[in-house]
Amino acid sequence: MEFFGPVLDGFNVVLDPTNLLYCLLGVVVGMLIGVLPGLGPAATIAILLPMTYGVEPVTAIIMLAGIFYGAQYGGTITSVLLRLPGEASSVVTVFDGYVMAKQGRAGAALGIAAIGSFFGATISIIGLTFLAPLVASFALDFGPPEYTALAMLGILLVATISGGTKIKAIIAAAVGLFLATIGRDGFTGAERFTFGNLSLADGIDFVPIAMGLFGLGEILYNLEERHRAANAPVKVSKVWPQRKDIKEASGAIGRGSVLGFFLGILPGGGATIASLASYAMEKKTAKDPSRFGKGAIEGVAGPESANNAAATSSFIPLLTLGIPANATMAIIFGALLIQGITPGPQLINDNPQLFWGVVNSMYIGNILLLIMSIPLIGVFVKILRVRAAILAPITALITMLGAYTIRNSMFDVLLVVLFGAIGYLMKKFGFEPGPLVLAFVLGSLLESNLRRSLLVLEGDPTGFFTRPISATLLVLFIFVAVWPVIKSGIEKRKAGSLASTIASEKEKENA
């Protein structure tokens, strides 16, 4: 009972009416933005950051997490019905899901996707429940050198795995690290790059950067991108899949869930890679691979289970190590910092209410999503009619007024607008905002740990290799850094896999 005591306490936290309400709010918003054109989960979470100031930390994170995994459900709907992947992680669902819709089996495809997502998430939450405390207790022994290596590896992985050019992603990460140094230096007390400006002395706030780069940047980008002709309405009948469908898909759901859980834990991994890997695996293990692309239900069930499992398990590195695995997690990390909570191995012991509250809220959230996505599918299909022209000013106003409410300061609003322009320009020139924000969030952690390790190791960088964990992480770091060079050598001889090219295309559009 020693282990399950805090877990059960977590349910008490979730069942608090306020938390339930915010959980519902989160998953509904997540599902909506998954369905609607334009904003992705990272942008939405960034825009809604001001909302989290007034509430308890656990309530805030429950809502933000709900947006993240709710969007995975919503993205499926447009993939299946309109052949437009709402999120990068739903790209492969298009292949078989849309064909199924054309064959009149849209209901079966959506139903199996919802059921698969639910199972994937549930398996992942159970895995999270048991694995997270283990990882956390292991990480409690981490010293500054380990953290330095881990943070460096995390930033590099996110930079190299994101779509677009690797070099540009690393540049973006470097800019993020540099922005994090602005303000008073914690070790020497020297003012860095403030140019005598008082409002810069405490450093740049995370919230305006995230709201600007992800939120407004994406809104501005969408202003020129949304000129696409409408589709004819689609009718969805019989959302409950047949018993035969469930039987055919059950293996794929199981495999996808487990695969997604493990891929989600890796830094830089996450939902997109998990769905791609699951599709490839289903195609490989199928008795008749030619069915894929012609309406095979496994091609929908596997990737959809995998992306939800991965979305859930990507909370493990954040909540146990304090290292966000992707851009969305970086924003949730920022939200926790705002609340005065530093995620890390001590979180689970110091703040069990928060940890288990958030983890257990995912059960409730997924049940809510399953309830919403099967019977209410018609409502979400109707929402597809809303024109982007009406949504764009609403999201812009939420961002502007929200930014003001953080500190009642017009300077913050101006910062958000300026970072919005930078975010837009970055996208146009092929720089990902994701690595920048992630590196910014980890910047001060990385610098202080690096300097502390150098003090411990007496200025000898080779000392990192004398400690087993930091040595392993650094070898991995070097491998990841050199890998693209080796890979491009191999790829010159054989063309890259098709699905991953498409996904990286879409990732660029949606990131």
Binding site: L82, R228, A230, N231, V234
Partner: protein, 130 residues
């Protein structure tokens, strides 16, 4: 010379196409069936599906009329888009459907049909749903 008809998947649209097919047969001219969809939303009920267009085309061909489907998109002004197409193909007749609208509805939404009637430089045949 040809006849242009505006098609939307509704009984008004079907009535307009039916009238246009008759007219095209009578005059022995080519029929242009236009479905123009608006940009900006993912789904619009006025956009015809592939099946709808194929069926309409088939009806026209069965009636012995040479027909062509034109799918176009417009941003804010359907009237301008539609009349632009009519000018481009130098049509001899424009066929449109009229739907019932309340005064309030007309004030808020405006009436595309009314504007086409007033602004067209070609003869217009306006059809009501049966």
């Amino acid at each position: 010379m040809s006849i242009i008809v505006g098609y939307v998947p509704s009984n008004v649209g079907e009535a307009a196409v039916a009238a246009a097919i008759q007219e095209a047969k009578l005059r022995d001219e080519q029929l242009l069936i236009v479905n123009s969809s608006r940009e900006g939303s993912l789904v619009d009920k006025n956009t015809a599906s592939e099946e709808d267009l194929a069926r309409v085309l088939d009806t026209a061909v069965k009636a012995g009329v040479s027909a062509q489907v034109i799918e176009s998109t417009y941003r804010d002004d359907l009237t301008e888009e539609f009349l632009g197409l009519a000018d481009k193909h130098e049509v001899s007749l424009i066929v449109i459907g009229l739907r019932q609208r309340s005064q309030v509805g007309k004030f808020i939404m405006g009436s595309q049909a009314q504007r086409i009637l007033l602004q067209a430089e070609h003869p217009v045949l306006a059809v009501k749903a049966p």
